[in-house]
């Protein structure tokens, strides 16, 4: 040991500085949060009796799902699935096609401020409403059926895809972009050579992921009148055909899981 430093008395304790410096404020926040939590629990009437009564009813309901009835005498399940699949595909394609220009405009390092703000506005607008609200609007505007569902899912896709595209562009490697710019490339060439290769793999993965989401959402928008498998599911419940409803649920699960598998595989492949 160095003789000079051994003479100085160094402290033997060290504590990580707290996140909130003032201890009064820190305790006030903790106590406030605890009091609110207790009050919130108190105001919710937890009725144990009601809960216990619900259990056998739930069991009966669940039992009526089995065995799932795949017979599909009226052909409605098959039709509903086909409708949902094309609804998911075309709304994904249309949504992405619209997302690309909006996403480019919403990247701060590409667009001037006014373009940036308006594109971010569009994205924020479409993200404010979940697909089911968009579907309610679309059904009011365009009437019942898959067209309303298509519109709702396309708008939902813009909010999702354009935002993630813009964020990916903002995180790109600036030097690669600079190098292409320095060759005298035009703006479109610059996008094609410097930006596109950097964001493409992620965008392909996200497209498949969005297709997956749109298929699932097509079941939800159907319930409010947007067509597809959701409408079939809703009808099955309304007619107390729980075994058919169970069959529909199984089919949805299988399709979603296979899409999940395909998207995972694709993402690995494009890296």
């Amino acid at each position: 040991m160095n003789s000079e430093t051994s003479l100085i008395k160094y402290p033997r304790h060290w504590r990580k500085p707290p996140f909130i410096k003032s201890s009064k404020l820190r305790w006030a926040i903790i106590m406030g949060a605890l009091i609110y939590l207790f009050a919130a629990f108190g105001s919710m009437e937890i009725d144990v009796e009601r809960f216990i009564k619900g259990i056998p009813r739930g069991k009966r309901f669940f039992d009526s799902f089995f065995p799932p009835n795949f017979a599909d005498h009226r052909g409605v399940v098959w039709d509903g699935i086909l409708e949902s699949v094309w609804m998911a595909i075309i709304s994904t394609v249309a949504g992405i096609a619209l997302s690309v220009p909006i996403g480019l405009g919403a990247a701060r390092n590409l667009a001037p401020l006014w373009v940036y703000l308006s594109c971010r506005g569009v994205i924020a607008g479409s993200r404010t409403f979940p697909e089911i609200i968009l579907a309610i609007f679309a059904v009011k505007l365009f009437g019942f059926g898959p067209f309303a569902g298509f519109i709702a899912l396309s708008i939902g896709t813009i909010g999702f895809f354009a935002k993630l595209l813009a964020e990916d562009i903002e995180n790109m490697n600036e030097e690669q972009a600079e190098a292409i710019k320095a060759t005298g490339a035009s703006w479109f060439q610059w996008i094609n050579y410097a930006i596109q290769p950097q964001v493409m793999p992620r965008m392909i993965g996200l497209s498949v992921y969005r297709l997956d989401i749109n298929f699932r959402e097509s079941a939800v928008v159907g319930i409010v009148g947007g067509g597809g498998i959701g409408a079939t599911l809703n009808t099955a419940f309304a007619r107390y055909e729980f075994d058919t409803a169970a069959a529909i649920l199984v089919v949805i699960i299988v399709i979603v899981m296979s899409l999940e598998y395909v998207s995972g595989y694709l993402r690995k492949w494009v890296q």
């Binding site: 190098a179 320095a182 060759t183 490339a185 050579y193």
Partner: protein, 262 residues
């Protein structure tokens, strides 16, 4: 060939990166630009091709004033200035050939470049350059499969296929090992000589600067504090550029242990 007049750059943050820099570079002269980090070396070369817009002052390339050009004319004139980067700045997911051909983007239209249908002369020239730097076997490899030295060679090809009059080179060796650094510097020197190119090379390594340049410019806090021959870098001069330090080992003459470029 290249003339800077009272070039000044002040960033929005208030940092004064360049202050009234005057510099004139004749045809086919290779100059090394040295100076501590933050002295404004990168800003200086980026102000020449206006990747960074200078605040005031003028840049002339062959008596054409670049600083007042419209963005369309600027793009056309960027073709005459090849740029080489510290981290190579290759587009990593494109092939070596696409990276080299991207140096021709200023000469071809959008759809041609989009479908990768470059003129046959461009493709032939790309092959010739890749052969010249010893990367003939790597043409279809993706740029991120290459080693550092190989990537920098692709970067050099991309700059040269522009058919430039001037090379702007930003820390070409900072990410390379000492041996590869020397090979790359020698390659740049040879190519500049073959094509009678002028070059500005930003470089940290004082020894490399002395070995591979005809003229050294020292930049400190945005001003030129030295402009002279490589062997004029005495301890006094280095102290003026970088600050107080023991410089005796740095300026010892090192023998250039010659190796063929692999």
């Amino acid at each position: 060939m290249l003339r800077l007049e009272k070039l000044t750059k002040q960033y929005k943050t208030g940092d004064q990166a360049l202050i009234d820099v005057d510099l004139e570079i004749p045809k086919s002269q290779v100059i090394a630009l040295i100076g501590p980090s933050g002295a404004g070396k990168s800003t200086l070369i980026r102000c020449i091709n206006r990747l960074v817009e200078p605040t005031s002052g003028k840049v002339y390339l062959n008596d054409l004033e670049l600083t007042s050009l419209s963005s369309r004319k600027l793009r056309k004139n960027r073709r005459r200035m090849g740029m080489i980067f510290q981290e190579y700045a290759l587009v990593e997911r494109l092939t070596v050939m696409e990276n080299v051909l991207s140096g021709r983007l200023g000469y071809v239209g959008f759809w041609r470049s989009y479908f990768r249908k470059f003129p046959q002369d461009d493709i032939k020239e790309a092959y010739r350059l890749l052969d010249r730097v010893g990367l003939m076997d790597m043409v279809d490899k993706r740029a991120d499969e290459l080693s550092g030295g190989q990537r920098q060679r692709v970067g050099i090809c991309r700059a040269l296929i522009q058919n430039p009059d001037l090379l702007l080179i930003d820390e070409p060796t900072a990410s390379l090992d000492p041996k590869t650094s020397r090979q790359i510097m020698r390659l740049i020197n040879e190519l500049c000589e073959e094509r009678e190119l002028a070059a500005i090379i930003n470089i940290h390594d004082v020894q490399l600067a002395q070995m591979f340049s005809q003229r050294v410019v020292g930049l400190e806090l945005g001003s030129v504090v030295y402009d002279g021959p490589p062997d004029g870098l005495t301890p006094d001069v280095l102290t003026k550029i970088y600050g107080e330090e023991d410089w005796s080992a740095t300026i010892e003459k090192v023998e250039d242990d010659d190796e063929e470029i692999i």
